[in-house]
């Protein structure tokens, strides 16, 4: 119990001290609000502009969640195909890596030109960023089934399909969720980056566009408010995915099991 309080109170205390110093510095040195607004002003902006920003947040969130869902489904399927055929894995995996290491900022303009529906264009960008951790993690997971269990399945005459369903997929599930948690944050980043690129082209989209717009208008407190909402969204996505994976893997993986036994 003591540890739990420490775990909650200590970071909160650090946050409070940080905000207080920030507020003090802004007021004490008379820093212009368009350079660095004090936290109180950001809070006020969040209060007044909040409802308007929430609409934009909803757009960004839709893109993020749709991209994450597509990454989970397509990434999972790609991994399944990879695990069934070593030749396909060897042939295609390098291209998945290439897609991953190419900066999304660089390809986003092309995608926005090629895909006419803005929502779909942004979705594609976010998906490209999000799908790789799921594919690489799940592929490793599908291939790391216990060798002795594989032998046992063979001994009892299991088909390739049965090995996949009853052994490889369950083994890969913790890996899949580890990938999904990373992808959750990346999908949001991908969506924001794509919105920035689209926004510089004049297309009004989600929260990233509002950040851009606030920057142009020197409405810096509103910029910070939008930034705050983005961070909160990212944290929320991570926490929800973490909760889901914990729920589903309760009996499974030692990383989950041992923590529960504490």
């Amino acid at each position: 119990m003591n540890g739990l309080w420490l775990r909650i109170l200590a970071p909160l205390l650090v946050g409070a001290v940080f905000l207080a110093v920030w507020e003090g510095v802004c007021r004490g040195f008379g820093i212009k609000t368009y350079i660095l607004p004090p936290p109180s002003l950001i809070a006020l902006s969040l209060w007044t502009d909040g409802p308007g920003l929430l609409g934009s947040l909803w757009v960004t969130l839709q893109i993020t969640l749709a991209a994450l869902a597509a990454a989970a489904i397509l990434g999972g399927l790609i991994s399944l195909v990879f695990s069934l055929s070593r030749v396909i894995e060897i042939s295609f995996f390098p291209y998945a890596v290439i897609l991953q290491v190419t900066p999304i900022v660089a390809i986003a303009p092309l995608i926005i030109i090629w895909v006419h529906t803005p929502f779909l264009a942004l979705l594609t960008c976010a998906w490209i960023v999000a799908f790789f951790p799921i594919v690489s993690n799940t592929t490793v997971g599908l291939n790391s089934a216990d060798r002795n269990l594989l032998a046992l399945f063979r001994l009892y005459g299991a088909s390739t399909f049965q090995v996949l369903c009853h052994l490889r997929v369950p083994t890969a599930l913790p890996y899949f969720f580890a990938g999904l948690r990373i992808s959750g944050g990346l999908a949001l980043i991908g969506a924001v980056v794509a919105e920035f690129v689209a926004g510089t082209g004049g297309a009004e989209t989600g929260l990233a566009y509002r950040i851009l717009e606030a920057g142009y208008r020197l409405a810096i407190p509103r910029l910070f408010a939008a930034l705050f909402l983005l961070s909160v969204t990212g944290i929320a996505i991570y926490l929800v995915l973490d909760l889901i994976s914990r729920r589903l893997l309760r009996h499974w993986h030692e990383s989950v099991a041992t923590e529960e036994e504490e």
Binding site: N148, A151, L155, G157, H166, H251, W252, E254, A257
Partner: protein, 275 residues
Amino acid sequence: MKSSFLGTPDGANAIDTAPLPIVELRAVGKRFASGVVALAGIDLTVGRGEFLSILGPSGCGKSTLLRIVAGLAPPSTGMCQLTMGGITGGRVAAGRIGFVFQDPTLMPWSTVTGNVLLPFRIAGRVGPRERERAATAIRAVGLDGFATAYPHQLSGGMRMRVSIARALVTDPDLLLLDEPFAALDEITRLALNDDLLRLWERHRPTILFVTHSVFESVYLSTRIAVMTARPGRIVADLPVDLPHPRTRETRSSPDYAAMCDSVSATLGRAMGGAP
């Protein structure tokens, strides 16, 4: 008439007078792709109802031998012939062989019952009859009340019991155990030795037991095949004439001590005086 692990024991009739040995290895050799010769010229027959220990140092090819018998690896030379259900040679029907590895090799996402039901699940039939058999197997290894537990909630010894229950559930003709107790602490190991012995004395299954412990092999088996390494060969085939039922008192008897000495000496000689 076939003996049953889990059904009612049929006493003295349990030992069938089958004419053919259940396992017959002739001039079996195994050479890996790396060029390492794991086994050379192995001749071995296992009769129905025997408890045969394969005793040897680490890396002598004992496990490879067991995998060849199970059909998990083909021999490079020679032949391995099994007689099961009155049929000699050919593909062994699924579930005729039970295998226990050194690690419990359980599925962490499945309960004890789920793990024990695995052979039936693969065979595509999990009905009330199969569930009843699984429950009986779980009882037989002393895990009453743990049917719905997950592996991570069990101790190492209990996990090994689950693994044994899974090997028993199909009522196999042949039980292969690959150093099943090597990773357990001494106390658990002795308890599981006794349990395995009781199981064999009651139902007289055919057991092929790989171990590197002289004491374990003498205490448990009716026969010991001593192996040496590089290449793996059987250098001695010793019957163990200690009377059944064997109990903890057996372990302090002079006959037991003499047998252990004799097996140790054989092993020592075979390894060039450096066991």
